[in-house]
Symmetry: D2
Subunit: 350 residues, 4 copies
């Protein structure tokens, strides 16, 4: 591919875990030229000094956050910044003609009220209707036409993908859905906090924010869109002693009994052309290690016949399909590149 | 305490993880003299050669399994053997006058049919009604009078303790209970299997045997006893990358709305005199590391008011309160010793 | 033991990892009454709110640091404070009649110059000759008579114990000693730092401060005392992805060839009456898990005959024999209690 | 690249950890067509059933071991079999015209005596002089001309790369070299053994086979070749609680004092054109996580001036640069492909 045709990409917030994963993926993307990195904390430092793994691979110097400069330098800007910062810079980025994939929650909601009740006042509400929810398996066409994508949270990605095929066909009790998710520690970010110290996590499995996590309203909004009826859920996230990976176990009442094969076929049909969803055969359950470092979402299920419940399982790498990989998948669609370009990292390995 | 008054204890199956934990606890028990260890795999070897941690602490030689010899040597025999072996040796042990705490499933069921549908034909059915289910917080009086105790499984312990106070008062929908449990790897035992190799567990969070684990009928039988009505559950166990610890997250419909404090008070009242159940204050959720190496079961909760659900959390050390510690607690009760004697190991530490 | 005879103990700096381990051990010590806890960061909070594992076990409220109050409340004060703070409070503690076990480096050196070149100016130099180095296996008699003990660093403990028997008999090349140590993460403390985040430690084995760690002059001073000649070493510490445990691998030229049994006998003779040093039989090498949670130091060796080198291995729990356990062992000696009282925690378990 | 030009590759022993890593790399190699997989244990099963991570990526069915068939199907055959099996199949593979990269020890030695004293009688000694030691940074030209390459062990790779530049220039004492290596658990393979169970490895740092590991004579032979004089070493491997990664810490006497920058320059000069050796700048030490999943070997150093010692540090991924990645690097050279083709996996990520 001739050099001049490459998409120029900028990553704002490159030195957090999601930002660094974006850099990792973009460095290996044949259709992209990495044009600019910003970091509030490490402005002035080469990226490879912050992440020595990148020595000789990405020695670009991180700059201070400057939306004008980013928009001038790049065709696509990834904003991997904490909630609230993106709504401050995204208007300027769009104004200057850049396409934006935002990895925060700021542009994931259609409803400003839902956002504001979970986060804070929104200063760029006028852009919410312009933003598209960046789950390519469900909203690929809209994403391809968008210039602003709100990249989904890791929990919502792991939850919406297994549930959507059943909710779209009205097969589940809309108030029966219970989600028990388990996340690796990188989801909590690179900021310093007692709760993510090695000694506080190792051997220390625990739940947090039960029925009160901010990803819950995001899930409910999107699941309701899919079901075309209001869906309300019970959601409890947990922290597991591992770096990467997210497993969601989802329980729901079936509206009518489904056999295992039937349910599996519904998933297979729904995702038949989708390169990053793998529906596992009967007898196999997803493991986080089987999707590690890849953009895959592995899904399987069990039918609890006596209880009339469907149990769904999904596994993703929270930093890839749950963040940076999905963001690049969105960029590909927005830029007319093949959906899988630069996203061929193979999963796993021990 | 004079030497001659000590309880003589034997551990059959001393070199598995639960057996070794029994040895560890009994070595520190001031009222017990360790009289005999057996091991099918390591007969003839000093215990401390199998577990070098015990060098100088327990150098006793492991013997072959011989119930007559065990009954002659010991007042109380712990059978920490795989399912099916205990039903073969326990009759002889009782016959010879020993008290027995069995850590397998063989004597946990009142109903032979329930046992046989989950395990195999039972060759000592006549003892099922004589056996008492060894959950001291619920059945302490019966245990004190028993000579045969079926020590509960680790999952049932972690599930029954938080649920019992609510089911006993008919506060939950009897077919609404969903249990999502996460266990450390030691629960799978010391046998060689691909699934418990370090490289297959690390980074590899996963569910197993969804809605089909053999602890489910055990839970249902005991929960129904507590509720005095049939309780049916959905149960999914998971394997977490850590040695010890079990966290259960339990979801149930409330028959009528309960406030957080109300629900917490119900737990506190129920367990007010129980030394090993700690009901956590509001704002605290159990962590497996906070009970590690101890006999505690930590319990907390959240009320999902919009959904009308109570969410219960419990943490135990699967080898202690989930196996060996509870077995010693039972032995104490059966032998007239203080319930907490020898079980003062403090939890946690980083 | 009658209540009034108990030693009253205070822990200053109770909420760091070493301080909390002290609390853990002292809570189970039959000859001690925990009289006072201080914490700069958590003054006013119950200890069990900082460490929920201690709910119902130690709910004492942490106080601000106040040496007068500590000395009034306690017979023995443990100062588990960062370097530099102890030299400010210890003079007042001694003045008021308390015995002191200091877990920092402030009172480990005989030579003020050695201390000052590794740390900072010393404001209580006059106490250095009064302080005794708190390695009971070597300096037990002096410790018993001391009112101020400088508790050894974790690395020095793991290094001096295996080397001392050979250096005391002039069997090793004095400039040939190379020490390669590996430590669990708790040794780095509970302070917030990027390097101890779970995601930065997991899978990330690494060395740090090669030939420049501050424990090196401490080791050289004590080893030289033992050898009665100057000993100089090369020391490289490493960080291993585990909470607790320290393994030191030590290489030295033998002055004359020693057979394996001979070398092992030298260790066995030297430590024959020492309850916390275990010399392993041939064929066994120490594992950190075999001493976890206990006060043991396990030692073994290999002879590299062609190279003329002795290779020594030692394992300790860095928070117990490497910090809090050893401090309590020192307190026992200083207070006339049996050396092992309250230190009967059994090691390991999986 | 036209399909017909691709190198056809076979992996014999595809379901062990090194074999599976070969499959992973070869699946992403643009110049290779995976032609055949063999597995003794899983013959008849799709590779993706043995490694579910590969579902949809490599569903090829594993076949029984058959050298004729392999040679017919493939231009290059990787033998990732246990020691002793390769010497039985490699003669037939070569006879049939295939090029061979053997990942066992069978063709790593020039001296049959050295091999036989460490392993077993060699049944294909006549091929030893034909075989080239597959360390491309040192023997690239010979590898390019070879049809049989003995792929180095993981420990030797991590040790020879940092030492070679200094030994080649006679800068180190030839009998002064001490190597303290730490390996992740995957190096022990996928076979079932007590020592690699999760519960036996976690928290259990330990040494094994001190001064008696079979990689020692391999290192000594190659280091002596490099130094053009006999080099004898002391080598102690350790097992660390992590899946992947190897860190070697190497101590040697300097023949004359070298400054840090001088020593670093020697490394930089030696490896200036080598794409997979990264010499770190002063102030940086290698971490296993910084090379994870990549073919890099990161090297750094410290000078212990008072002791006159050079301390070298190297980190590799034991399954990539220590096994499968290096094997593919060798294949590239042997097949006239660019050395880095298919080996562009980026390291690390948290």
């Amino acid at each position: 591919m001739p050099e001049e045709k490459k998409i120029r990409a900028a990553v704002m917030g490159a030195t957090g875990y999601a930002g660094a994963e974006l850099v990792r993926i973009l460095c290996g993307h044949p259709g992209v030229e990495l044009a600019l990195l910003t970091s509030r904390q490490h402005a002035g430092a080469p990226f490879s000094r912050v992440y020595p793994a990148f020595a000789g691979i990405c020695d670009m110097v991180c700059e201070a956050v400057d939306p004008e400069k980013a928009a001038a330098a790049a065709d696509v800007v990834f904003t991997a910044l904490p909630h609230k910062l993106p709504m401050e810079v995204v208007p300027a980025l769009l104004e200057a003609g850049a396409k934006v994939v935002d990895l925060s929650a700021d542009f994931r909601f259609q409803s400003a009220g839902a956002y504001e009740s979970a986060y804070q006042p929104h200063s760029a509400k006028h852009l919410l209707s312009r933003a598209v929810y960046g789950l390519p398996e469900l909203f690929g066409d809209k994403i391809a036409a968008a210039d602003l994508v709100g990249n989904p949270g890791c929990y919502p990605t792991s939850v919406i993908l297994p549930l959507a095929p059943f909710l779209a066909r009205d097969l589940l009790g809309l108030d029966s859905v219970i989600i028990d998710s388990k996340s690796g520690v990188s989801g909590a970010g690179r900021g310093l906090s007692l709760g993510t110290l090695f000694c506080e996590v190792s051997d220390a499995f625990r739940a947090y924010k039960p029925a009160s996590h901010r990803h819950q309203p995001e899930m409910e909004e999107v699941l309701s869109t899919v079901a075309k009826k209001p869906v309300s859920i019970t959601f409890v996230p947990h922290l597991a002693p591992m770096n990467r990976g997210m497993l969601s176990t989802i329980y729901a009442k079936m509206q009518k009994p489904l056999a295992d094969e039937e349910a599996r076929q519904i998933l297979a049909d729904f995702y038949q052309d989708k390169p990053y969803v793998r529906v596992l055969p009967k007898g196999f359950l997803p493991r986080t290690s089987d999707v590690r470092n890849s953009n895959f979402c592995d899904i399987s299920l069990a039918v609890d016949k006596p209880a009339g419940r469907l149990i769904l399982f999904s596994a993703i790498d929270n930093l890839v399909k749950g963040a940076a990989g999905q963001a690049v998948q969105n960029m590909n669609l927005m830029s007319g590149l093949p959906e899988t370009q630069g996203l061929t990292m193979l999963p796993g390995g021990v």
